[in-house]
C-alpha cells in the first residue's frame, strides 16, 4: 500500500464516517446516577466465573505456548 493509496483510503473513510469534532454538549447531570452506582454493593462473582478462571489457569499451565495467542484475542 503506497502512501498515496493510504491517503486516498483515509479520505474515503473521513467522507464515509463523519468526524464528530466537539460533539454535542453534555447537558445531563450524571452525578446522581453515579452516586447511585457507587452506593450499590459490588456484585459477587458467580461460581462459573471462578470455574472459568480456574480452567484458564489450568490451560495456561498445560499449554504455555497458547498464552500469547490468548492475549492477542483479548
Amino acid at each position: 500500500m503506497t502512501e498515496q493509496e493510504d491517503d486516498r483510503l483515509k479520505k474515503l473513510l473521513r467522507e464515509a464516517l463523519r468526524p464528530i469534532g466537539g460533539g454535542p454538549e453534555q447537558d445531563r447531570d450524571l452525578w446522581p446516577e453515579l452516586l447511585h452506582r457507587l452506593d450499590e454493593r459490588p456484585a459477587a462473582a458467580p461460581w462459573f466465573d471462578w470455574a472459568l478462571l480456574a480452567g484458564l489457569i489450568g490451560l495456561a499451565a498445560l499449554f504455555p505456548t497458547a498464552i500469547p495467542v490468548f492475549l492477542y484475542y483479548l
Binding site: 493510504d6 464515509a16 468526524p19 452525578w31 452506582r37
Partner: protein, 181 residues
C-alpha cells in the same frame, strides 16, 4: 489555586467523595466528549461516562496525583469504550450513526457515491474493536497520535501499526466488494 487543585487530588486519592464530585464536575464534559467520539451515540456516551467515573472512583487508591487526572480519566474512558465495543456487536447500529449526514455529504462532494460511503462504513464496523478505536481517533477524528497512544496505554508506534492494520483490512474488505479506493 494550584494548591487547592492539588488538595482536591490528594483528597480524592484518600477516597473523599466531595473531592471526587469536584473532579467529576470539572472533567465530565471532556470525558463525555472523548467517549462520544468513539461510540458516536449520546445515550451510550452518557452510560459510559458514568461507568468511567465509577471505575475511577473504585481505583482512587491507585491514582498518582503527580501524573494528573485528565490523562488518567481519558485512559479509563477509552478502555470503558473499548470494553463496550467488545461486549456487543455494534456494527449495524453504529455504522448507521456513523454515516455522514446527507447535507454535509452533498456539500463535500456531489459525485461521491452514497453506496460506496455506506459500504465503507459497514466495512469499518467489521474491523476488530482494537483497530477500529485507533482508526476512529487517529484517522477520522484526527487526534494527535500521542494522545491516542496515551488514551490506549500503548506506544505511538503501536498506534501507527494498528491504524496501518485497520486500513489494510478495510482495503481488502472493500476490494472484495469490488471497490478500489
Amino acid at each position: 489555586m494550584r494548591k487547592e487543585a492539588s488538595d482536591v487530588l490528594d483528597a480524592f486519592r484518600q477516597g473523599d467523595v466531595d473531592a471526587f464530585e469536584t473532579l467529576f464536575r470539572q472533567h465530565q464534559r471532556a470525558v463525555f466528549g472523548w467517549i462520544f467520539r468513539i461510540v458516536r451515540n449520546a445515550a451510550t456516551a452518557d452510560e459510559l461516562t458514568v461507568e468511567t467515573f465509577w471505575r475511577i472512583y473504585r481505583a482512587h487508591a491507585r491514582f498518582e496525583p503527580s501524573r494528573g487526572f485528565e490523562g488518567w480519566a481519558r485512559r479509563v474512558a477509552t478502555h470503558a469504550a473499548l470494553d463496550w465495543m467488545k461486549s456487543r456487536r455494534v456494527e449495524r447500529e453504529q455504522t448507521t450513526e456513523l454515516l455522514a449526514d446527507p447535507q454535509s455529504a452533498i456539500a463535500m462532494d456531489a459525485a461521491f457515491s452514497a453506496e460506496i460511503r455506506q459500504k465503507t462504513a459497514l466495512a469499518f464496523g467489521r474491523l476488530p474493536p482494537k483497530l477500529r478505536i485507533a482508526a476512529v481517533l487517529a484517522v477520522i477524528e484526527e487526534q494527535p497520535q500521542k494522545d491516542v497512544a496515551d488514551a490506549l496505554g500503548i506506544s505511538v508506534g503501536a498506534v501507527k501499526l494498528r491504524v496501518y492494520r485497520a486500513l489494510r483490512m478495510l482495503r481488502k474488505d472493500l476490494e472484495r466488494q469490488g471497490i478500489r479506493p
